[in-house]
Amino acid sequence: MSKGVAITGMGIISSIGNTVEENFQSLIDKNAGISKISKIDTIHKDEIKVGEISFTNDEMVQILNLPESNNYSRTALLAEIAVKEAVNNAKITDINKYKTGLISATSVGGMDMTERYYYSYKDEVDKRKYIDAHSLGDSTLKIASSLGLTGYTSTISTACSSATNAIMLGARMIKSGKLDRVIVGGADCLSKFTINGFKTLMILSETDCMPFDKNRTGLNLGEAAAYLVLESDEIAKKENKKVLGYITGYANANDAFHQTASSEDGEGATLAMKKALEVAKKSPKEIDYINAHGTATPNNDSSESKAIIRIFGKTIPSFSSTKGYTGHTLAAAGAIEAVYSILALQNDIIFPNLNFKTPIEETLLIPETEVINKKIKHVLSNSFGFGGNCSSLIFSKEL
C-alpha cells in the first residue's frame, strides 16, 4: 500500500496551446485564450466569450491519421491528441510492458455530434455512426484501442471535478499495486448543450472572466484535454525515467448541500483539502501554491475563498486560478490544472490570475496577478463540481 506515484509524462491541448510547451509559454506571457466563439453556431455567440481550440475537427482527423469513416466526437479527437503527447513524453514504447491502465474523464462526451444529428439520423444514414459515439465511455475505448492498451480502463464523470477524480483513482491504483502505470486525465469539447446549460444557470460572463474579483460576473466556458502518465516510483526508477513530480495527496468529499450550488462556508471544499493534506502527510504551511478552482462565478469563488481560509487561516499561500487563460474546461479542468501545477513545480513559477482588480469584501483574498519566481515544493490543486463533488490533489517535487 505504499508505492510512490511518479508523474513521468504529460500532454495537453487547450485554447492557449496545442502542447505542454505552448501552454507554458502562454502562461508566462500572460497570453489568454479567451475569444468569441467561431466553431459553434449559437445564438449566444455575441454575448459570451469562450476558450476555444483553433483546430477544426478535420484538421485533428488529419493530425491523428484517422480514416474518413471515423466516428470521433470532438472530445475524442482532443483526448487522443493530448494522450499521444503524454505517452511520447513518458517515452513509453511498449504500452503493455507493465500493468498499464487508462482512466479518462469527460462530461460532454459525444454530445457535440448528438446535438447536430439528433433528429436527422432517420434520414442521414451516413451519420448514424455517431449514435455509438454519444456515450461518455466511447472516447476512452477509442484511445485504449489506438494505443493498443489491453489493461484496465474506466471513465469517470463527476461534472467539473471529473479529471481530478480520474487522477486520484489512478494514483490509488498505483499505490495499491493494482496497476504499475496509468494514463489519467480528461477531455471536454465545447457544445451547444453546455453553453445553453450554463447560460440558463446565468453564470456565463459576457466579458473575460475575473476569478476571485469582487465584480466577477461568471465563467467563460472552454474546451481542452490533458493527460498525465503515472508510474509507480519503483518502475520509474527501474526504467530510468525522468520524473516530473509526484502525486502525494488526493481526496474526494461531498458538499451535500445542493445539486449545483456550493455551500456558503465551503464545507465540501474544506474537507477535500483537509483530507488531501492528511494523505500527503503535509501541514498547510508546507503548501507553496494553490491552483484554485476559481471559476469566477459569484458562488464558487466566495465558497472556495472561505474554504481556503478555513484550512490556511491567516497564512494563505500564493494562489491563482488559471481559468482566465483557458476558460472553465469542465471535466478536463482538473487535468489541465494538474499540468499547470506540475509546470509550476518544475519551473519554480507561479502563474498569474488574470483580470483580477478588487478583492471580495468578505474574504479579502488576493491572488497572484504577475508571474512569480519562487521555490515550490508542494502544489495544491482544487476542482469542484455539480452534485457536490469536491476534490483536491497535491503535487510534490520529491516523495
Partner: protein
C-alpha cells in the same frame, strides 16, 4: 487480505423488485421490446414534493439505495460509488430537445442541472447528508464493475461501509436512434423468448441496483464478493482463456463453480460469446440467465448480481432463471459473465459465507 461482504441489496427494475414481499416466482419474462421500470411506491422513500421534480433514474437510485442501506443497517456510508453507462438520459434529452426545437430560447435550467451523469450519486449524498467520497463511473457496460473495483479499494484503504450501485434509464429518443441501427429488438422478435432468439438486438430497459459492501459479516449478509475483472474488448475465443485466468487468480477452477450467471440478451450477433461457455466449459454446471426479466441496459449486470445474491442467501435457484437443470447440493461459488455487443466484458465472483 480483506473480505468484502454484500450486506444489503436493493433493486428497482422492470419487475416489481422493490416490493420485498415478492420473489422470482412473481416475475415474468418481458413481452415488450422497450420496458420502463415497474414504478416503486416512491412515497415510502422520497418526500412528496421531491417526487415530481426528480427524474426516473434518480428516483430509482434513491429507492434502491435506501433498501440496500436499510437491510445492512447503515445510516451513513463512507463512500457512495455509482455506475451509469448513459447517465440521466431523460433530462439530457429534454434539455437538448429544448435547444433544438426552440432554437436555444425559452430554456430553464432544471433539466440541465439533472442531466449530469453524477446526478444520482449527488442526490443520494444530499438525501443522506453524506459528505464522504462520491464518484460516478460512466464506462459503458462495465460502469457498475468499475464501482465494484473501487469498493474493494476503499475497504483496502480502511473504510468499513460502502454503498455502490448501477443505474441507467431509458431515453425515448435515444432508444429510437438505437432502433435505427438495429440495437433494439422488434416486438415480434420476442415470441420465442430471448433464450431461443433468432433475431438481432435486445430488449431495452432500465433499472437501479444498489449494494451495501462491508468489511464485516452480519446477520443480513447475502454473499462474499470475491473479485471482478473487466475487459473492453475480447474475441469470442479469448473469453474462456481470460475467465480461466481470472479463476486462477482467485485460486479456483471451473469445477469449483456451482452456478454461472450469464448476461444473455437474445442478440444472435453477440450471444455467441456465451454459447461456448454453455455448451462446453460449463456444460455440467448450473447455468442461470436474467435479462429476460430485467431487459438490457448498461448496468443490467448489477441486476444479475442482485439475483445471484438472493440465490446464494436462499440456497435455491428459481425455475424462471434456469437455463439447464443440474443437481446443486450447495451453492458456494458463483461466477457472473456479461458483455454487451462484444464489448465491456466482466467476470464477477461471489461466494457463500
Amino acid at each position: 487480505m480483506n473480505n468484502y461482504y454484500i450486506n444489503g441489496i436493493g433493486c428497482v427494475s422492470a419487475q416489481d423488485t422493490s416490493n420485498l414481499e415478492l420473489n422470482f416466482s412473481d416475475f415474468s419474462e418481458l413481452k415488450n421490446n422497450i420496458v420502463d421500470v415497474f414504478k416503486p411506491n416512491y412515497k415510502a422513500f422520497i418526500k412528496p414534493a421531491m417526487i415530481r421534480r426528480m427524474s426516473s433514474g434518480v428516483k430509482s437510485g434513491i429507492v434502491a439505495s435506501s433498501i440496500a442501506l436499510k437491510e445492512a443497517n447503515i445510516d451513513l456510508p463512507e463512500a457512495i460509488i455509482t455506475g451509469s453507462g448513459m447517465g440521466c438520459l431523460r433530462d439530457s434529452e429534454k434539455f437538448l430537445e429544448g435547444i433544438i426545437n426552440n432554437n436555444e430560447q425559452y430554456l430553464t435550467p432544471t433539466s440541465f442541472i439533472q442531466s449530469t451523469h453524477n446526478t444520482v450519486g449527488g442526490q443520494i449524498a444530499l438525501g443522506l447528508s453524506c459528505k464522504s467520497y462520491n464518484v460516478t463511473y460512466v464506462h459503458q457496460a462495465t460502469s457498475f464493475e468499475s464501482s465494484l473495483i473501487d469498493s474493494m479499494m476503499m475497504i483496502d484503504e480502511g473504510s468499513d461501509h460502502i454503498l455502490i450501485g448501477g443505474v441507467d434509464e431509458i431515453g425515448p429518443h435515444t432508444t429510437e436512434n438505437h432502433e435505427l441501427v438495429g440495437h433494439v429488438k422488434k416486438e415480434s422478435d420476442l415470441k420465442n423468448g430471448i433464450l431461443n432468439s433468432d433475431s438481432k438486438g435486445s430488449v431495452f430497459s432500465e433499472g437501479a441496483q444498489f449494494f451495501a459492501i462491508e468489511r464485516d459479516k452480519k446477520n443480513s449478509t447475502y454473499a462474499k464478493f470475491i473479485d471482478v475483472a473487466v475487459y473492453d474488448k475480447l474475441e469470442i475465443d479469448e473469453v474462456e482463456n481470460k475467465m480461466n485466468q481470472f479463476l486462477n487468480d482467485n485460486k479456483m477452477q471451473i469445477s469449483d463453480i456451482d452456478m454461472i450467471v450469464l448476461g444473455i440478451n437474445g442478440d444472435i450477433d453477440y450471444d455467441e460469446y456465451y454459447n461456448l461457455l454453455m455448451r462446453k466449459t460449463f456444460k455440467n454446471t448450473q447455468q442461470v440467465y436474467y435479462k429476460h426479466l430485467s431487459g438490457e441496459y448498461n448496468t443490467a449486470s448489477a441486476f444479475g448480481l442482485w439475483a445471484a445474491c438472493k440465490i446464494i442467501k436462499d440456497q435455491s435457484i428459481p425455475k424462471i432463471l434456469k437455463i439447464n437443470n443440474k443437481e446443486v447440493p450447495t451453492i458456494n461459488n458463483v461466477l457472473l459473465y456479461n458483455q454487451y455487443r462484444g464489448l465491456s466484458h466482466s467476470f464477477t465472483l461471489l461466494s457463500s459465507c
